[in-house]
Subunit: 223 residues, 2 copies
Amino acid sequence: MATNPNTRPTNDRDVISELTTGRLSVYLRCLTYLESVQQQTISSHELAQRFHLNSAQIRKDLACFGEFGTRGVGYNVSELRQHLTRTLGIDRVRNVVIVGAGNLGMALADYRGFNDSGFHLVALLDVDADKIGRESRSGIPVLPYEELGNLVRKRGVEIGIIAVSADSAQQVYDNLADTGVQAILNFAPVQIRLKPDVKLKSVDLRINLESLSFYLKNVEDES
Amino acid sequence: MATNPNTRPTNDRDVISELTTGRLSVYLRCLTYLESVQQQTISSHELAQRFHLNSAQIRKDLACFGEFGTRGVGYNVSELRQHLTRTLGIDRVRNVVIVGAGNLGMALADYRGFNDSGFHLVALLDVDADKIGRESRSGIPVLPYEELGNLVRKRGVEIGIIAVSADSAQQVYDNLADTGVQAILNFAPVQIRLKPDVKLKSVDLRINLESLSFYLKNVEDES
DNA sequence: GCATGTGAATGGATTCACAGCT
DNA sequence: AGCTGTGAATCCATTCACATGC
């Protein structure tokens, strides 16, 4: 499911797991910090300690994209940061739209990480006439859902975020896909039927609470 | 990191991975739906199709906790639902508190899944005098952060949610842990230094966007 | 000497395939 | 006949350990 199953890794390094890219994001954030405090180099070992990871894993993760370290020294912080930025494709800005201007949509609209280096949030969309015309605290406008097609075409939206109820999520996914959005982040707790070449990532917030509950239950059961 | 490393699985079935429990949550939601439409039984195969999973995996997941199916028939929907509810420890209500009444905290406060069967959100806490005394759209009050200790003790709070900035997250984690909260969900993008026996789950929303960006970049690079 | 990059070894999770029950 | 429960096989991720280069 990670990549289109009938596209066999053509030029060989297509096969980078989401676990790896997730960690790359984490390293990147760390490198940005290190750069801000003027640290010049960092070793895989030092990085590993910060994240309770194994240093070999970090080296493997980084080695997927070429050799960046210097033996005996480590990695150059700004060089590596730049490289990861390019690798993750956030060396240029991608436009984002959020569908659903309810509580969650509004909160995400003002969430720093979603409107920051690499991403630009163009608008919220909603079908509810009461919401249209308002804006989020940080000034993202709420536009009519019918504008979706226009917006995507004219503003070059590349990423859609689904923040509507479970009922409407499939519909929104299909509409986003039809207008040409190829990457979608879904917060509705439903299984979406996928279209080819339209990447979906789903985030299920409730699962996290239930996982904590499971932990607590087991603690209790030990007494 | 998943479980405390120096607690070796004492009575043997401590070893259920988060991947498994995550799927249990998903099955549970599905079963709740099936019960609402009065479906009596379901087979692992049918469940598997709904989630694009392998049916053996579902059987394995369920078999961790005993034998619930009937060979030749499948699983009884309400029986299995009840069972999963108990397994996940949400057959009783757990009190929850959110620290940080910014955009994210407020949105989470009104998020259905967080104040629904199995969980009860007691309050939001914040240090900002302007926010104290307000309430979320659905009526969750914002109380002074100093109330944390009292609240946890008097109301029996079991789960804390960190929705503050990265700077303060460690502090909040420590305070929550000190007052006796044993399960914490963190939305701040920092590595938290853990205390023994205090479970932490972190959700990093930005990683998801970056992962989509990585996907898009690779699509581009193929042309 | 020190830290990277990487094949080999390990450890987990998923899938296969079938025995066993209804 | 149909579907569960599960050992065996496979697949993937992580870790070890060392050869390589600064």
